[in-house]
């Protein structure tokens, strides 16, 4: 099988598996005061420091969570906001705030390249204060489109509001520097960077007061109760520490991704690559094959031994048009006919060649019928 669905989840790095196995065998509850507990606590704090170093922030800004979804929920629901501004292409765990918030939620449109317009944000920020939160993702999970977070954040701060970025899909694929982005809050996930599933982090400035989603033993300085998933945390830290080393490899995936778009584009001029006009993650391509349902495409690729997806993994199972494609101006038919290809560090030239020829084969077969 050729795995081209790395934005859904990425295989664990061998070093991560080794580290997690070691920690799982060592055992211990970080909150216990005896030596076994203290050793566990040391692993916990060392992991926090390692991640802090990689994303350039102080360790105490990091709260470990059960994943990116929990971190995003903390940013939106645990910070005491009464006005939230998001973009239309956010992940479901951010978009869901529309139906689960007592205050005002503004959903800002994006242009055909998936980019948020600065003036729209400025308009939405009229009358903003420190109870206003802007949440925009660093890079989109479906298209890989990168927002200009530094600029959006500066605009937000000028208006006196707070800024959160969902960096889940960006981390590990492009450099992510908390201090340089100057955001107030950030969400991360381990399993997108070769770490384990069920593990994430919420990074926040100390000035942010949290009203936790979960109460209990008061772990994570009261920000997030519950016995820490120590093996997951250690695995996350190991994966994070390998990010700088792997970034070059990931960046080089750009060549393979561009080859896909070039070859397919030449073969089928009507194909559309969403977000190709914007700066994108180097590994992601969202491709429209007009008139062919994404389900059909996914099945055909699967028969050819290639794993891709019709959108984000969370919403799969339910076939619904991609909200990202519609936000970028695609109609419902187009949104139902796109697939996402996401390369990973194990992807080879042969994998990409196989994908391109499978795509062409399917396209030609469908063309003949039309």
């Amino acid at each position: 099988m050729i795995y081209l669905d790395n934005n859904a989840t990425s295989p664990l790095l061998p070093d991560v598996i080794e580290e997690m196995t070691r920690v799982m065998k060592a055992g211990g509850n970080p909150s216990s005061v005896h030596s076994i507990g203290r050793n566990a606590k040391a692993i916990l704090e060392q992991s926090r420091q390692n991640i802090a170093k990689i994303i350039n922030c102080r360790p105490q800004k990091i709260t470990f969570t059960s994943g990116g979804t929990e971190a995003n929920n903390m940013a939106l629901k645990a910070t005491g906001m009464d006005h939230i501004i998001i973009s239309a292409t956010e992940h479901d765990s951010i978009l869901a705030i529309k139906d689960n918030f007592k205050g005002v939620v503004d959903v800002l449109p994006v242009d055909e390249n998936g980019l948020l317009c600065f003036s729209d944000l400025k308009k939405a920020l009229k009358g903003a204060n420190d109870k206003t939160l802007v949440s925009v993702m660093l890079a989109n999970n479906e298209t890989g489109v990168r927002q200009d977070i530094k600029e959006l954040c500066a605009i937000t701060h000028e208006a006196g509001a707070l800024f959160h970025t969902d960096a889940i899909q960006a981390f590990g694929k492009i450099p992510v520097d908390f201090r340089d982005l100057a955001v107030d809050m950030m969400s991360l996930s381990a399993h997108k960077i070769g770490g384990p599933q069920g593990m994430g982090a919420f990074v926040a400035l100390e000035k942010i007061t949290l009203h936790p989603l979960s109460f209990g033993g008061g772990q994570e300085v009261g920000r997030r109760s519950g016995t820490e998933n120590l093996a997951g945390i250690a695995g996350f830290a190991k994966a994070a520490s390998l990010v700088p080393k792997n970034l070059t490899d990931i960046n080089n995936l750009r060549l393979l991704r561009d080859q896909i778009e070039h070859d397919i584009g030449r073969h089928a001029p009507e194909a559309i690559f969403y977000g190709a006009g914007a700066e994108r993650l180097p590994n992601t391509s969202t491709i429209l094959m007009p008139g062919v349902l994404s389900e059909t495409q996914v099945m055909a690729f699967d028969l050819d031994g290639i794993c891709i997806s019709s959108g984000s993994a969370c919403s799969s199972g339910k076939v619904k048009p991609s909200h990202v494609v519609t936000a970028m101006g695609g109609n419902k038919d187009m949104a139902l006919s796109t697939i996402r290809v996401s390369l990973g560090r194990d992807t080879t030239q042969n994998d990409v060649t196989a994908f391109i020829s499978a795509w062409k084969k399917l396209y030609d077969r469908k063309r003949k019928r039309l």
Partner: protein, 390 residues
């Protein structure tokens, strides 16, 4: 005592070692079956999803539930928060009263306090000197506004088992939802959801030789309303709990439940024998030994006691080779006296002198003999020192 690895781990209520058999089940999901279980479109997703489905069935089987009644969470804290806050909000404003007990785990008590701050009413039931909640008190606390009774099956500090069957029956009669925090009970004592009339049950992985960072919430399929979700997003777990599941963690919890169910008799026999051995060694060694909590109605793997005239911190200092606890592990940074020991009427001095010993599946007879010797040695030393001071 050459064959004992030090320190001897006697803190099984704080966390349990991962059973190597559980790790074996988890490994494939960390390696070749790494897929996202929500990727419904290819083999990697299906494999991961199949692992989650099997785990769900294994969890359900252990408690007499159906797989579709199990949702996976990040642990018992999340399960308790969701059951209590999620259900309280779902049932409000028609019903806005909750009944719990003073000896509950902090995550239950804190969830209830959060609800109180939001205008809900909470009754905190007292316990008797054994730590047992009277079912009559439960019945008396009910009002027409009561939506939920939340009580723990086995207390994490003193190991006492509540009268779940009687209380469950009362709840059923009154049409009130019964939530049970079973983090310390699942896999250790038999629990059947239908027989006990339990509608919500919280489960933890790392208390039953499974991994940390995973738990489950049982939600009876017939109850309405369903608890509200704490996290929104991709709509996983039937919309009740968004977020990518970890198939490795789920499979670990499933395997731990499977083993616990299969070996419950064997585990119990082993742990009971060791517990009795330690109890009788300590009892024979001298006077002044007091066990906290009911002596009959308890989980055998938990011993909580104090020895008259011996301070807990001095004892723990002498017992460096034993990993045990003076309170529950969660509250280490706070030095408040245990709320559970306070509730059963111990004095401040008695509370300070109390230690908790947790015995589990991996504990050996040699370790118990070593622990008994160490405790007796330490107590004698402290008593002699105190004697000299007089």
């Amino acid at each position: 005592m050459a064959d004992v690895t030090l320190p001897v781990y006697l803190d099984y209520q704080a966390t349990t070692p991962l059973d190597p058999r559980v790790l074996d089940v988890m490994m494939p999901y960390l390696t070749e079956k790494f897929g996202n279980p929500h990727s419904a479109e290819h083999k990697f997703g299906w494999e991961a999803d199949a692992g989650v489905a099997l785990a769900r069935k294994q969890v359900a089987d252990l408690i007499g539930a159906m797989p579709e009644e199990i949702i996976f969470t990040s642990g018992a804290t999340e399960s308790n928060n969701m059951a209590i806050k999620g259900f309280a909000y779902a049932a409000s404003p028609t019903k806005n009263h909750i009944v719990t007990a003073v000896t509950e785990h902090p995550c239950v008590l804190e969830s209830c306090r959060a609800l109180e701050r939001s205008g809900f009413h909470v009754t905190y039931l007292a316990v008797d000197r054994d730590g047992i909640i009277s079912d009559r008190d439960v019945a008396a606390a009910m009002t027409p506004q009561t939506s939920l009774v939340s009580l723990m099956a086995v207390n994490n500090e003193i190991g006492v088992i509540q009268n779940l069957k009687k209380i469950g029956q009362i709840c059923a009669n009154e049409n009130v939802i019964f939530h049970v925090d079973a983090a310390q009970a699942v896999g250790k004592i038999p629990l059947d959801m239908r027989e006990l009339n339990i509608s919500l049950l919280s489960i933890s992985g790392h208390k039953i030789y499974g991994p940390k960072g995973v738990g489950a919430l049982y939600i009876n399929k017939d109850i309405t309303p369903k608890p509200l979700a704490l996290f929104d997003g991709g709509g996983q777990e039937r919309g009740l709990r968004s977020g990518t599941l970890s198939p490795a963690l789920c499979a670990g919890l499933g395997a731990a439940c499977h083993l616990a169910g299969r070996d419950m008799g064997k585990d119990h026999e082993h742990i009971a024998a060791l517990s009795e051995k330690l109890t009788s060694s300590l009892t024979q060694a001298g006077d002044g030994l007091h066990f906290n909590g009911a002596q009959k109605q308890r989980y055998v793997g938990n011993l909580n006691f104090y020895i008259e005239g011996v301070k807990g911190d001095e004892l723990v200092k002498e017992l460096r080779n034993l990993a045990l606890s003076t309170g529950s592990a969660c509250s280490t940074t706070k030095s408040d006296p245990s709320h559970v020991l306070t509730a059963i009427g111990l004095t401040k001095k008695q509370i300070e002198g109390s230690i908790r010993i947790g015995i589990g599946r991996m504990t050996s007879l040699q370790e118990i003999d070593y622990a008994a010797e160490e405790i007796i040695r330490a107590v004698t030393k402290i008593k002699n020192r105190e004697h000299k001071k007089l």
